[in-house]
């Protein structure tokens, strides 16, 4: 190390690596290993154009995809106590937080948005996996609770989109306490008679799965997402056996009765809209009523005998 490498080179690279040059123009698909042009990947909702593998999706892109015209508003979330444990491993938790805040320009791992989906007001609480692995601490619990309260006030359905490795260890027992806390949120929505739908994305594990994420009136999952309680490695070490094919993937969960549907990302908005319509607009639409009122039946197909 000399002054050339430690001083001059960073300065030069700072000049060269301007922000308008995106870091990675190409991304490798985790499933088929093909290189995908970043722009193409984004246009394809982060689904591999070669093999349909669903890559993780940035939170803003996901919200844009779900809301009509990509329009939504995020609510400001209350600031919970910061680092009450004064947690420190190799690094201070507060430093780690700052790092992720700088990296993601977000305060924590959740965003609460509201806007229209198929013309209907919906509240969405979405996890940001890029922020400390979407881990659930007090701020996330606060977010879910705020989302639920907003849904109740707006008489809107609540949709949660977990993407999380589980509880945020650095908040110790207080992160564990977000499990009952998030369940209280779900119960507020339930008691108001409003639908609560979960869209399980890759990955949804640990304390997040074992709380609000498994309590949806209806549970949708994206193809191939890892969804489970215990980590595969922990299970493998416990039972000392190979895990079954497709273990803890969406399709496996569907097979075992744990989710209602596995929905490809491109159909997610429509499926969600349709479900909410069925749950929220229970009476037949006016035009349908008129038809039913007609004294003469509509033209029936002729009955033919085989």
């Amino acid at each position: 190390m000399n002054w050339l490498t430690s001083y001059v080179r960073p300065k030069i690279s700072a000049l060269v690596n301007r922000k308008d040059m995106p870091d990675n123009l190409w991304q490798k698909c985790g499933s088929c290993s093909q290189m995908i042009y970043q722009k193409e990947l984004e246009l394809n909702l982060n689904v591999c154009p070669h093999c349909d593998h669903h890559l993780r999706m940035p939170i803003t892109a996901r919200l844009e995809m779900l809301f009509d015209g990509g329009e939504y508003q995020c609510i400001e979330l209350p600031q919970p106590a910061v680092d009450p444990l004064k947690f420190k491993d190799k690094k201070k938790y507060t430093d780690r937080l700052k790092e992720y805040q700088a990296k993601t320009s977000e305060k924590d791992a959740i965003k609460v948005a509201h806007g229209k989906i198929d013309g209907r007001m919906v509240v969405v609480a979405a996890f940001n996996f890029a922020f400390m692995g979407g881990s659930m601490g007090m701020a996330v619990g606060e977010g879910i609770l705020a989302a639920a309260k907003l849904a109740v006030v707006q008489e809107a359905p609540l949709v949660t989109i977990p993407a999380s490795g589980g509880a945020r260890m650095q908040e110790g027992i207080l992160s564990l306490m977000q499990m009952p806390r998030s369940i209280i949120a779900v119960d507020l929505v339930r008691e108001a008679g409003l639908p609560y739908i979960v869209i399980l994305t890759d990955p949804t594990t640990g304390g997040v799965t074992a709380s609000f994420a498994m309590l949806g009136d209806i549970a949708l999952a994206e193809p191939g997402a890892i969804i489970g309680f215990a980590g595969a490695r922990v299970i493998k070490e416990t039972i000392r056996e190979e895990l079954p094919e497709g273990f803890q993937r969406s399709e496996y969960l569907w097979d075992h009765g744990m989710v209602d549907m596995v929905v490809p990302r491109k159909q997610l908005k429509k499926k969600l809209g349709d479900l909410l319509d069925l749950l929220m607009s229970k009476k037949p639409k006016a035009s349908v009523l008129q038809l039913a009122d007609k004294s003469e039946p509509a033209e029936l197909p002729p009955i033919t005998k085989a």
């Binding site: 110790g172 027992i173 564990l176 119960d187 309680f229 215990a230 922990v234 416990t238």
Partner: protein, 321 residues
């Protein structure tokens, strides 16, 4: 105490105890007075125990909390619940022996009591799956809690688990859903619920039966989102840092009380519950009775509201000061 389970910091005490034992043996065979010597040694033991037990680290407490001679859920149930009738099964798949539960009388009052049981010897440990509950156990807990709700019986739970069982079958049968549903059931009960962490409060497996009106911990019990070993291997990338992880995680009863996560601590006799199980069980009984009395003024909806308020405040602005 069985000599197989001596904790490092208890070694000097155990040595003194064996000296007393030796003296007693000698005095049986030869005729000489040992009373003075025994009193002296006993005083020494008490002093040693006091100094060891007043400054326990979080890791030492973890070891005590896992001590195999500590009273387990079944011991608390046997000691505190009269006419106990064990109830079994989730009515869907199996009976999970990792979670024992049933109906009985606590100081005259009919209650539902349950808890994770780790087992004592190898055979019973296997039977109880080392206290690691599978989905069926949580679904049995849900069934019992719902029954308690219907009949207006208080629910007492004893938490003692390393965590929910991590296995293929458990995952396939919805471990996460079972835990979530069990927490939800706790929260919505319209009867008093009192939970005590008697040993190890291991993460989701513990909170599944501990979202209660009053949460109590024994003095040397621990309660954590992850085991110190697990945390060390993830954050320090080295399981050897379990002592640091135990400290950082704030898992002791004393830490948790100052974080306002638990309501009460039951003192253990000098030298821990594993030396004096009967006294510990009785002391917890008194605390549970007091808790029940303090909750007796609350109506059905107030009991649920009390729990909801308590847990939705955990993490709010300004909670911890």
């Amino acid at each position: 105490m069985s000599s197989l389970h001596i904790l490092d910091f208890e070694r000097p005490v155990v040595e003194l105890e064996s000296k007393i034992h030796e003296l007693r043996r000698l005095s049986d065979s030869e005729d000489f007075n040992i009373a003075d010597e025994v009193t002296k040694l006993q005083a020494k033991i008490d002093k040693q125990l006091k100094s060891a037990y007043t400054n326990l680290t979080a890791w030492q407490k973890t070891q005590i909390a896992r001590h195999p001679d500590r009273p387990h859920s079944q011991d608390f149930i046997n000691g505190l619940i009269d006419d106990f009738m064990p109830l079994a099964g989730d009515r869907a798949y199996a009976e999970d022996h990792a979670l024992v539960g049933g109906i009985g009388r606590f100081r005259g009052q009919s209650v539902i009591a349950m808890g994770q049981e780790k087992g004592r010897d190898m055979a019973s440990r296997m039977k109880h799956n080392f206290g690691m509950t599978r989905p069926e156990g949580y679904r049995k807990a849900i069934r019992l809690m719902e029954m308690a709700d219907r009949f207006g019986l208080p629910v007492l739970t004893f938490v003692d688990t390393a965590g929910a069982y991590p296995g293929v079958g458990a995952e396939e049968r919805g471990q996460a859903e079972a835990i979530a549903r069990s927490i939800q059931t706790c929260l919505n009960l319209q009867v008093p619920m009192i939970s005590t962490v008697i040993g190890e409060g291991g993460s989701g497996g513990a909170i599944a039966i501990a979202a209660a009106n009053h949460v109590v911990m024994l003095e040397h019990a621990v309660y954590s989102v992850i085991s110190p070993e697990g945390c060390a291997s993830i954050l320090w990338r080295d399981g050897e840092y379990n002592v640091d992880a135990a400290n950082a995680l704030k898992i002791t009863a004393q830490d948790l009380q100052s974080l306002k996560v638990i309501d009460d601590i039951v003192e253990e006799p000098l030298g821990g519950a594993h030396r004096h199980p009967t006294q510990t069980i009785a002391a917890l009984g008194d605390t549970i009775e007091k808790s029940l009395i303090s909750l007796s003024g609350l109506g059905k909806t107030e009991l649920k509201a009390h729990r909801r308020e308590k847990f939705s405040a955990m993490g709010q602005e300004g909670l911890v000061g």
